[in-house]
């Protein structure tokens, strides 16, 4: 049995190793064959596992002992329960579709590399190697039965994300974006690791079952040094990790930039799977999170801010991938709100439906980008539905699902989240409910804006053949047509692209119909823990009267009409009166600028954190190491007096680094004294 589970992550790993290390020997066809084979095996076995789990067969066991130290036994092992099984199937299915799609998308990748670049000679194989390596890492993350392996998978998916965002490493924007993504994620991991440290210190174990078994005892403790309630401290620290990985405000800044990577990975990593790791993690830790209302309150507020404020940015984006990226941020916010409302199963349900419809949207956008020959700006699209009927239809399905209209998948999951937030009783739930409703309108608007802007209306690509700037974020999928002056008429993408789109559209429509068994059956069983104080989901269960009943009821409620009016607004602005958006933008002035500047986070982070860190570094080096330490040592005591004078002068120099230096010293002196006292 353990062997079967091992096969799931190891099959893609083997594919990744073969395609990556022996790229020359296996060639292009060999690379995609072996990796697709690996992921197919992984997907099929995941299905078997899912059916077995549905039959009640769960598993929790170790594969090997990774490390033993200080009474802590850390292992690599698997926990297979309904939560894991769902994630395994979602991850391997989307991954398989993306693998197939990549054959078409990366077919001419050598054109994206400068002439003579050796890194460009096997980029096709390398790409397949990376996405299989990602699949392995993600599976290790979701199948883990302990915190260490979780962290291993957590960082490994971050590594592959780094490698893939910067895949076209010749582009300055790509290698800027991947460094940014890695560092912002590391800020989250900083919290995550401290959370793990607290668990290890107080529970004496990092094994899920052992830790969760003591959750009641942990809830009664306080952290000995800080005096914080222990479970709250653990949960908030862990959630900071989730904020990094799942791109929650204010650590969301890396996700839009990650669009620098090739589109298949935007779909797989930055929409369907990796970014949902934080949602999965919190659900997995529900036995801990349920015991801290403070943490839940924090989560619901962070989720609410992300949901509404990121959706607003999506309205003003003109880059087709960035619209989808901001929409992803907003949808992740919905999932986070659900976590804060103690509706873990609802969050996982939305995670699943979102994985399908967002993969459709991204891969559909990719198909457009192929057809438009590396054009991502929707202002130069329009009227594409005539030329790309399959892409149009699938993107439309994705957009309807994203807007949350019945009977598409997004309706069931999003409506359930709104209901759960409505029923939640933690502080901040009222604010979250408002954000959730407002974002429904905005979601309808930006989803249909994308469809109308790109696929309907005037064929703007006929006017814009030259003279436009390639400012940022172009997902160049070159066909060697740079600098063409004749308007290029787009055409439908090849089958390797459209078939995955169609296959993903099916669950984007239908996966919502599983709601009955998924949320209100006994599906999750013991995998998710509910505190008795949080009865939102139980309440919803009592109100649930089948899929049809939910739809009938849904069309009579506020969210449905908000989404419809969002869609109607999009229709009015982009089909009925396409001259209006420019007018509104001019009138809105400051507001439009704020949204286009994305609230200024990028500028602030660049100036304050990146610039500040470099300033402190330079100051400590020149001022601390060179002036003070070397200066004193080299000049010696003979110049002590002169040095003293100069230090006194330095103190009042007004240079921030010198103040920083003395502050650090001061802090450590105080720390020393204080600990000595204790």
């Amino acid at each position: 049995m353990k062997l079967l589970y091992l096969l799931v992550p190891l099959a893609p790993l083997l594919g990744a190793i073969v395609a990556g290390l022996f790229s020359k020997a296996v060639g292009r066809a060999g690379a995609h064959t072996v990796t697709i084979l690996g992921v197919t095996v992984s997907f099929l076995v995941s299905l078997i596992v899912l059916f077995r789990v549905m039959g009640g067969e769960t598993f929790n066991g170790d594969v090997y002992t990774w490390l033993e130290s200080g009474g802590l036994k850390l292992s690599i092992g698997f926990l297979i329960d309904p939560l894991t099984a769902v994630m395994m199937v979602v991850v391997t299915f989307v991954s398989l579709m993306v693998h197939i799609y990549t054959i078409g998308y990366m077919a001419h990748d050598e054109e994206n590399w400068p002439a003579g670049s050796l890194a460009g000679t096997n980029s096709y194989q390398r790409f397949f190697s990376y996405i299989s390596l990602f699949t392995f890492s993600m599976l290790m993350l979701v199948m883990s039965n302990n915190f260490v392996q979780l962290f291993f998978g957590w960082e490994a998916v971050g590594l592959v994300s780094y490698l893939l965002i910067g895949f076209w490493s010749v582009r300055p924007t790509a290698v800027y974006a991947n460094l940014k993504a890695f560092l912002v994620n590391r800020v989250g991991d900083f919290g995550f690791l401290l959370g793990i440290g607290l668990v290890a210190a107080y529970a004496g174990s990092l094994d899920y079952a052992t830790v969760f078994g003591q959750s009641k005892a942990l809830a009664a403790m306080t952290e000995s040094v800080t005096g914080w309630p222990l479970v709250t401290a653990i949960c908030i620290a862990l959630f900071i990790g989730a904020m990094g990985k799942s791109a929650q405000f204010p650590l969301h800044v890396w996700l839009p930039d990650s669009m620098e990577g090739p589109t298949p990975i935007s779909a797989l990593i930055h929409a369907a799977t990796m970014v949902t790791a934080g949602i999965f993690m919190v659900s997995r830790m529900s036995p801990l999170f349920e015991l801290s209302d403070t943490a839940l309150s924090f989560i619901i507020v962070v989720g609410a801010i992300t949901t509404l404020f990121m959706a607003l940015i999506a309205i003003v984006q003109t880059d087709i991938k960035r619209v989808v990226a901001y929409s992803t941020l907003s949808q992740l916010g919905y999932m986070t709100m659900a976590l804060g409302a103690s509706a873990y199963s609802v969050a996982i349900f939305h995670l699943m439906t979102h994985a399908f419809f967002k993969a459709v949207l991204f891969l559909g956008a990719g198909s457009v980008i192929i057809a438009m020959h590396h054009e991502q700006d929707m202002r130069r699209m329009g009227g594409l539905r005539k030329y790309m009927p399959i892409t149009y239809l699938t993107v439309l399905i994705g957009a309807i699902a994203n807007a949350g209209l019945p009977p598409f998948a997004g309706f069931f999951s999003k409506d359930s989240i709104i209901e759960a937030v409505h029923l939640a009783n933690v502080p901040g739930a009222g604010f979250a409910y408002f954000c959730a409703l407002a974002a429904v309108f905005v979601g309808g608007l930006y989803s249909f804006r994308l469809v109308f802007f790109a696929f309907h209306g005037k064929e703007r690509f006929r006017e814009a053949a030259h003279g436009h700037d390639h400012g940022h974020g172009h997902d160049d999928h070159g066909h060697g047509h740079h600098g063409v002056h004749e308007p290029h008429v787009p055409h439908e993408s090849p089958k390797v692209v459209t078939v995955p789109l169609i296959l993903l559209s099916i669950p984007a429509i239908a996966s919502g119909w599983l709601i009955g068994s998924f949320l209100y059956g006994t599906w999750f069983g013991d995998a998710i823990f509910f505190s008795e104080a949080h009865h939102g989901v139980a309440h919803m269960k009592a109100e649930f009267h089948g899929v049809l009943g939910m739809m009938m009821h849904g069309v009579t409620t506020l969210p449905f009409w908000l989404a419809v009016s969002g869609a109607g607004t999009a229709w009015f602005l982009y089909i009925a009166r396409p001259d209006l958006p420019a007018v509104i933008k001019r009138k809105a002035g400051v507001l439009a600028t704020i949204l286009e500047k994305k609230y200024g986070f990028d500028e602030f982070n660049e100036w304050f954190f990146a610039g500040g860190a470099r300033g402190i570094g330079r100051g400590l080096w020149k001022g601390g190491d060179q002036a003070i330490i070397d200066g004193v040592a080299v000049n010696g005591s003979a110049k002590l007096i002169g040095w003293f004078a100069s230090v006194v002068r330095l103190i009042q120099s007004g240079h921030i680094y010198q103040y920083a230096f003395s502050m650090i010293i001061g802090v450590f002196v105080l720390l020393t004294l204080w600990m000595n006292r204790a």
Partner: protein, 490 residues
Amino acid sequence: MSSSLLSLAIWIPIVGAFVVFAAGDQKNLARWAALIVAFAGFAITLPLYIGFDTAQAGMQFVEQRPWIPRFNIEYLLGVDGISMLFILLNSFITILVVIAGWEVIEDKVAQYMGAFLIMSGLMNGIFSALDAVLFYVFFEASLIPMYIIIGAWGGPNRVYAAFKFFLYTLLGSLLMLIALIWLFLHSGGSFNLLEWHQLRIEMAPQILLFIAFLVAFAVKVPMWPVHTWLPDAHVEAPTGGSVVLAAIMLKLGAYGFLRFSLPIAPDASHYLAPMMIALSLIAVIYIGFVALVQADMKKLIAYSSISHMGFVTLGFFIFNALGVEGALVQMISHGFVSAAMFLCVGVMYDRMHSRQIADYGGVVHTMPKFAGFMVLFAMANAGLPATSGFVGEFMVILGAVKFNFWIGFLAATTLILGAAYTLWMVKRVLFGAVGNGHVAELTDISHREFLFLAILAVCVLAMGLYPYPFTEVMHASVDNLLKHVAVSKL
């Protein structure tokens, strides 16, 4: 238990060095002879691991002979779970150094190879000496070959750097000599370290002893603020010198804390632990910021080494098993990772004769294989799980959070800082468009370069995926040390 494995581990490289010297101007003969000696030196250390009794906390493979009977000085060798792995690591790194210098060193090949072999033997001596005088002799003698390596095969500013290195470390160890003599007198005429561990000492002399040892060892680690010799030494040292300096020599100081400071002066260690923790955290954070702004790759990695060694001293002075074992794991891992990083810079330097980050850019386009290795080692340097760099940091952070949340909090900032300075360098060196005409003409790594980078890559990954065999041998000795340190000697 009688065995002469440790003597062989010390003297095979040293005697072998003289064989290599005999090759004189025959460069290839010198290279092959050095390689054979290095392999023999490593092979002889393998039985130390295989035959090691993990249940036993005390010294194993002990050799005891009188040396200078008049002062009761003995030729006393032995290893426990703390020191054994470093003898293996040292002998292993020596092989890599020989391979790394193979074609690069054209000038005085026999002397170059010989100097490294002698140093390897001396450092095995440091890790296995249980007599204080024997330890001191090895400790000081190891300075000489390194001084010569920097001074003879180093960069343009080598004389300044060699001098700074020598003075710093020599001055540091003079105080230690006084401490050793005091202990000799206090113990009633013994230089046996294990006997010293049992001595009762008043608080005041304990503190003075601790400080005397601290000065010697802090310079070697190096700890802030006596670290400024290291970046200079690295910048001027040839690649092999940097590798040995980072991978092994820095560990001597840290090892000294465990062999001298903690067991001989446990009360002073506890009393001064807050200061040691503060200095360690300054190393981690302050030096992390300094590393961020370095323009010279070797300086950047040198500062990164200091920051990583901060984790080692931090782990020691939080006095729990996770901390101490984590620190030991970090020392071994740093041996692999820093060696690999310096070798990577060496590979580029041999082609471009520049260490300036600004002179590179887009190396991945001309050296994709090399870039793959460098990204792996950079990730290990940034402490990515599944690489060795993660294990030690993780253990120390867990230990630190257990000890005091805020100390763990400050230590964990390395997650961000380490990634920032390492990956920012990687970005500027490897990625982007080809930086200039020289980069465009680079050739990818040779078979020889592939060999040593691949060996280190295997080590880094193996230790990251399965660190159990490394910590397994430490448990008994570390537990014993912690128990010993917990008992007052007043």
